[in-house]
Symmetry: C2
Subunit: 149 residues, 2 copies
DNA sequence: TTAAAGATACACTTAAAATGTATCTTAATG
DNA sequence: CATTAAGATACATTTTAAGTGTATCTTTAA
């Protein structure tokens, strides 16, 4: 059981943006900081923009910043919307035809567990992940008002 | 986010065995019933045997049956031991070196959510998934004392 | 001894995730 | 208005892990 890097990095990008609210951050900078491909970051960012979590501005001097205050971005919400599928098992999907289907208790049990998982994440907002901003900025290598070279 | 078919089918195999306690069930029968490859079932069964959830007997007249009473097989336990990795995200793994690492709250949050997920499954045993055995047997196509042709 | 079962090993296929490359669009600025 | 720097989009390629297939070994009952 795992979450895709896609979702994982979506959260990390949001943390980065949240820790650096005074300026726009570029995709290039994020990719270099986290040492992953620019195109992967771009895909993630695009989705975040589409969903309203991030605001992207094109052109010279453009870049990214949070689309809403960190306190209004739920961690559970991000995971729910970024993760491609929550069809924990085959029988969650419409076209599935497991023998048990009708009164299968397994399906219900897994569904309940999934809800518990997400509910736990719903307890937090992005702001909760960015407490102690100075230290976080330090770890992320964010220097005052100076973008990456 | 999903669980591998491996784990999914492990649970289904256990349900099948639990619903058919009066005789040994063969791998072939299970594969045909669930319409998946014999070798996939074999791999799953092997693991279940290694873990003690299932008892396999070779040779003519051999087959599978539960290794313990259904009431003593925890659903959470099965998922925990069958699922290949619970490294929800990269930073769960030892060799990972995320920038945030040290005081990253994300890691803690995801870990707590995972625990909530498993705790929910820990509330159930295999026996809870096999209530209404007659109906289940009917759905699984289990006929009294008559193996699949 | 034979047949029927699980056990083991390994090669192959498939699907999805991640990466790479190229090009388009937008916006600031000299 | 041209240039430059940014995100947006599209598509092809690579990589990885999950699943499948085939062959052979081992065990056990009859």
């Amino acid at each position: 059981m795992n979450i895709t890097q896609h979702t994982d990095y979506a959260l990390r990008v949001l943390i980065y943006l949240g820790a650096c609210p005074e300026r726009r951050v570029t995709v290039k900078e994020v990719a270099e900081r986290f040492d992953i491909s620019r195109s992967h970051v771009m895909k993630i960012v695009n989705q975040l923009v589409t969903l309203g979590f991030v605001e992207g501005l094109r052109g010279k001097g453009g870049g990214l910043r949070l689309g809403r205050p960190a306190g209004e971005i739920g961690v559970g919400e991000v995971v729910r919307r970024m993760e491609p599928g929550f069809d924990l098992v085959d029988c969650f999907r419409a076209e599935s035809s497991c023998l048990l289907n009708a009164n299968c208790r397994l399906k219900g049990a897994l569904h309940a567990a999934l809800q518990a998982f997400l509910a736990k994440l719903d307890e937090l907002t992005l702001a909760d992940l960015i407490v102690n901003q100075p230290r976080l900025r330090d770890q992320l290598g964010i220097v005052e008002l100076t973008p990456v070279a």
